[in-house]
């Protein structure tokens, strides 16, 4: 297999050829392409009750009704695929339209009770069987250490499993992911190209231009060996905690921004809560937040 890279998103983690890029992204959906067309798609979600491959297949056929109604049929998985997916309960399928064809596998993980659907498109003739197999070999749908890896485009982060993705945006030059655990919200930011965004200014000046980072007094610091700024805001001193918690607005805010000069990126992490923020957890998130 050629050079490969990690793709990790909302519990799902696999390796794929480095020229494959994420074309479409949803909370539980990824579609990858190789620049000439789609190559692979994966969808996943929790399964309540018993898992049935046939029911899954019917749902898939209904979803693809416009494109491939009646053409989604069961398919016997080759032994190599079965071996690669030995940890899962599996069922194969294939489909065909006038312009494209594909085959895939529906998976059920008895450990995390997640159902996944992986399909490979064959409209691109150069998509090799070996590459598909390597993806399946590396496919995982739950973390082993309670920390979820997020690795798409050029960012990589590792967050506690309790933090759930609430929303995200990947705009050219600006990425933002928002997570919550019910008590706090944590945002991961990434801006590029840093040199053009900073111009002749510094991080403090740049932070002032971003509405979410514009309040408070930044303090110059070093983050993961890179120049950065950090500051926090809380309720006025002396106010009882119970009053702070009763307030509808968030009271505790934490901000950190740092510059990765050699990568020409600016990273930012901010958190907000009605309760005291766990700074150790935030430090660890920053430590594991990097560019690839």
């Amino acid at each position: 297999m050629k050079a490969c890279k990690d793709v990790a998103w909302n519990s799902v983690h696999f390796q794929c050829p480095s020229e494959w890029q994420v074309d479409q992204i949803g909370k539980r959906h990824l579609r990858l392409g190789n620049g000439r067309g789609p190559v692979m798609e994966v969808k996943w979600g929790p399964v309540k009750g018993r898992f049935s491959h046939n029911a899954h297949l019917k749902r898939l056929a209904a979803l693809n009704a416009r494109r491939a109604k009646g053409r989604v049929v069961p398919w016997t998985l080759p032994d190599s695929w079965k071996a690669a997916l030995a940890d899962f309960e599996t069922g194969g399928f294939q489909w065909q339209t006038t312009t494209a064809e594909g085959r895939g596998v529906s998976l059920y993980c008895p450990v995390c009770h997640n159902g996944s659907l992986i399909q490979f498109f064959r409209s691109t003739p150069d998509a090799a069987e070996k590459e598909f197999l390597a993806v399946l070999n590396s496919f995982r749908d739950h973390p082993d250490d309670g920390r979820i890896v997020w690795s798409v485009f050029d960012i990589r982060a590792k967050l506690p499993q309790i933090l759930q993705l609430r929303r995200f945006r990947f705009d050219a030059g600006r990425f933002e992911l928002e997570f919550t655990d019910g008590r706090q919200t944590i945002h991961l930011h990434r801006w590029a190209p840093a040199a053009a965004l900073l111009g002749k200014g510094n991080l403090t000046r740049f932070a002032g231009t971003i509405s979410e980072f514009s309040s408070g007094q930044p303090i110059v610091t070093t983050v993961n060996g890179h120049p950065g700024i950090q500051w926090s805001m809380g309720p006025p001193a002396g106010r009882p905690q119970w009053i702070v918690r009763l307030k509808p607005q968030l009271s505790f805010f934490w901000f950190r921004m740092w510059l990765l000069e050699e990568k020409n990126r600016i990273f930012g992490v901010r958190a907000a809560s009605r309760h005291y923020l766990d700074e150790d957890q935030l430090n660890r998130i920053c430590m594991d937040y990097e560019t690839v």
Partner: protein, 126 residues
């Protein structure tokens, strides 16, 4: 019954679109500012309906109406790469290398910028 026939844009693939070469319009004047950024002055075009109304009323503009557009650093980088010989994909590649961006991210930025300039009539694709 449809009164007006809907214009159907020719369908081209992404690969084909990236092979086009953007060419600057001859009607524009560009100025380099002290900051290194580019200021473009281009003629304002009347919307077809407004132009038709003006013609009916016998109104002819005495002076040439122009608009100005100042590009930022990133816009200037792309603008400087538009020489009529480079294709969109080549521009994307150079832009990505210059700013150490991923090709995909550079593609989104550059194509959006080129589309916007095209919409204003500042360039065409050949």
């Amino acid at each position: 019954m449809r009164l007006f026939k809907k214009k159907v844009a020719p369908e081209i693939s992404r690969t084909q679109a990236l092979q086009y070469k953007p060419v600057k319009s001859g009607d524009i004047t560009e100025m380099r500012l002290e900051s290194g950024e580019v200021l473009i002055e281009y003629p304002m075009t009347l919307r077809p309906l407004a132009a038709a109304v003006a013609k009916r009323l016998g109104v002819t503009p005495t002076t040439r109406q122009t608009k100005k557009l100042q590009l930022d650093v990133l816009g200037t980088t792309v603008w400087d790469l538009l020489d009529g010989r480079r294709s969109v994909s080549q521009i994307i590649e150079i832009f990505a290398q210059t700013h150490r961006l991923e090709n995909r991210e550079a593609e989104v930025s550059v194509t959006r910028f080129i589309r916007e300039l095209g919409r204003r009539g500042l360039l065409g694709l050949q």
